[in-house]
Symmetry: C2
Subunit: 146 residues, 2 copies
């Protein structure tokens, strides 16, 4: 067993993603405390739309690593919150292009600051070279399994 470095308790943490769960919960609490009425999952969709809006739901699936029904419902909820709009593509009528509302554009700065803050709290005691190693290992894990 070449790379089986896991004792039992550690195996459990790796599979259940205790660390990322803790980060997401902390960030959600910050959103709530700031009176921002959005979930982490909704934020993760907005996150990609802030980088580029007017992309299709399928592109959001790829970007957020979710399946199509999940994106359908996240976009449903974001639309109900008046944060995004579905616009039918003119070239291909199967496609919905997703655009941000003004209200969503306003959320970017505040939520990104809270996300930065959360990661700083999570990593405050960790030297940056060790953070780099950790990020790279997690990326390889993802690439190995996707």
């Amino acid at each position: 067993m070449p790379n089986n470095q896991f004792k039992k308790g550690e195996l459990y943490s790796f599979i259940t993603g205790k660390a990322s769960t803790a980060i997401a919960r902390r960030l959600q609490k910050k959103f709530n405390a700031a009176g921002l009425n959005i979930t982490i999952e909704q934020w993760s969709v907005l996150y990609h739309l802030w980088k580029q809006e007017g992309i299709s739901q399928q592109e959001l699936c790829n970007a957020t690593f979710r399946d199509k029904p999940s994106i359908t419902r996240l976009v449903d909820n974001l639309e109900r919150l008046n944060l995004v709009k579905r616009v039918a593509s003119e070239n291909d009528r199967r496609i919905n292009l997703i655009y941000l509302t003004k209200q969503a554009q306003k959320l970017q700065e505040e939520t990104m600051a809270l996300a930065d803050e959360t990661l700083n709290e999570a990593l405050i005691t960790v030297p940056s070279d060790r953070i780099d190693v950790c990020k790279e290992v997690l990326q390889v894990v993802y690439d190995n399994l996707k």
Copy 2:
């Protein structure tokens, strides 16, 4: 910003736990392919009961990092699958002690082998000293936020 090592794309991965999500999905597929009719979340409860059974639901909450309603429903479903039994404590009638059935005891070896296999696939290309750093960083993140 002392430890803010995150460019945008990396921030996203860290918060959403892309790597652990990929691991959990791969393991779930292995369970399904093996005809094992349990979810990863149910497995995570059994995991702790295999280490020690006859513990309370509250102790399962602490062990699995879940809240009480989540454990109530996971135990409900495990009980419906005939994998665990609630037994009222004699000392304190508020407490349910959770015991494994014979059927659940049989699952331990096979599911743990599949979990090992999944982590080996995830980490096959990663040197063990880098895995160690990654595990330690994730543990610190958890400790910093819990």
